[in-house]
Amino acid sequence: DDAAGPSAGGSIKIGLLASLSGTYQAVGTEIRDGFQLYLDTHDGKLGGRQVDLVVADEGNGAQTAVPAATKLLKQDRVSALTGIVGGGSVAGVTPLLNETKVPLVGSNGRPELKDVSRVWHTSYLSDEPGAAIAQHVRDNVKGSVYAIGPDYQGGWDELRGFTDAFAKIGGKLANPDGKTTFTPFPATTNFLPYFARIKASGAAAVYTFYAGSAAVDFVKQYAQSEIKDVPLYAAGFLTEGGVLNAQGEAARDIYSVLNYSPDLDNAENRAFVAAWKAKHDGSPTTYALASYDAAAVLDRAIGAAGSDPTPEAINTAIGQLGQIASPRGTWQFSTTTHSPVQKWYLRQVRQDGRALSNTVVGDLATVGR
């Protein structure tokens, strides 16, 4: 059933791998919907070719992601792979990419990889949000800052980005030993003991990164704890998407740094948000945006790959795209890391009509290597 090979009948097969069940189902769903939105608003075509989108479920991580990716790559023989929520899943899929020579335009997880020749990402590197907000925190917080995050690769990277940049510009951590506090992940559902330590440290602000259920628990318990008046800065996921609803009032006033906010004022974003709202409740998230952009990247790369867009040709074409106009503003792939060089925004959770939402309150640095 190989008829769907790249050149046949002007159609092309794209594989989308995302968590459609399990812990990260919310993120995975956004990623699928973001990609689908691009297709829907572009006649179901990428690079002028009808897209045959094959979706597979990443599950909770590498152990389910690898077989699913194997199916996409070796049975469905897709020309490009996109999606993938977890960094571990990307790491697990990479050997397959090299074996089948298919490019991945990932839209979320981003592990540290030695060889990124076939791996591209439309999101960001995990240490970038922290690096982008460090200066702002340094300028606005009078005193030391407590750093806390989840104990896994993503958490380590997110927090390291902040603490390294923060230390470089002379900021001081409030953590007793000067090292970030890491909480067991995903086992921690009770953050109160950590709050007691933060209280004891006398921190003037807290910087953190959590996502999903842990973000809900963290924020709700924070608001009831004795440090509820200590300003909270975070990488954007703490209050992004569905979790903000679950947090409710508890999330008010939290600062976060992210590469996107639905209230950004540019033409692409207005069109994107309008199209999203027409199909879904609520505003699009950065997850959906990254996936939407992944589709945009593939759209242009396939178009540029010539009459026979083989996976190799698509991969080469992605490397030559240059500036990409996007709802988040213009960005481009870094030549060394294959992830975006992009602008970051400071947001705060504020009342927006009847609901709370993340409102852009300022521009931060442009980051990317």
């Binding site: 590498a62 070796k74 049975q75």
Partner: protein
Amino acid sequence: MRSGVIRRARAGIAALVLAGLVVAPWVVDDYTTAILARTLALALVGVSVALLTGVAGMPTLGQTAPYAAGAYACAVVGSRISDVGVVQLVVAAGAGALLAAITVPLVVHARGVIVLMITLAIGELVVIVLGRWRSVTGGTDGLAGIPAVRPFWGLPALANDQARYLYALVVVATLIGAVLLLLRTRAGLVLRAGRDDETRLRASGHRVPLHLSGAHIAAGAIAGAAGSLLVVAQQYISPADFGFDTSALLLLGVVIGGTASVGGALVGAALVIAARDWLFGVLPGHAPLVLGALFVATVYLLPTGVNQARGRLRPAQAPAPQPAAAEQATVAEVRR
């Protein structure tokens, strides 16, 4: 005799399955071959689970621990020392056995659900260690870029799915053969007896802890060897491969296969794992639902699995062997 017919039929089916497995890579596509190779590794862990759960009566949720030890040992050896399969296998089995041996004092005196929980804890602890010991294990992102294995000195490296699969098949077949032989010796008999009634076994003069320790370590070695196969099949490992859900699925697969039967465990574990992997690909988002429904259906539909296991664990109609008498305030009931 009816049992003779059944035995011959079983042997026939086994031979057919084996033949099918040997020719499979030439019949099915690369994807299926790759999945089969991975499944073989997990099925081998399933066999070690069956050895403990069904034969020795120590239900385990922690065979992922020696499995992980074997896999990481193999990965480290593979990327730093030797790409020879036999070496990796031996190292992996040794690592698995070693980890099992270290945990023997924890499990050997416990029974039934207690073993289940202790082994669960061991498995979780190992996963936590794997996630944090970044210099060796690569942390939660795992280890990739493990060079292709060559089965023996002088042989070429296994570069494609077929070759990797056949390598796994040979290893699994050899180890299963060894397990079957082991179970035919008195070791197997004594283990089964201990599962039935440990107090009685003691009263006959057997050193029960010794037998159980031996079984635990042997099962650890098998799981370790399976870990090495996973590395070969997948060329990537991460702590996620050894999580609680894997243990749980393996245990369920073994239950489906009939707990005490090695062949059943192999088939059961393989089916469960293959069903999961396949479902995640073809029914994105609905895999857990369908998998759950399949489990429920299996309980009712598969007399050879569950019911046979039940028959083994407690004869359906006989006056329940109820160790109530004063002289045996007892273990058998908890182990059941």
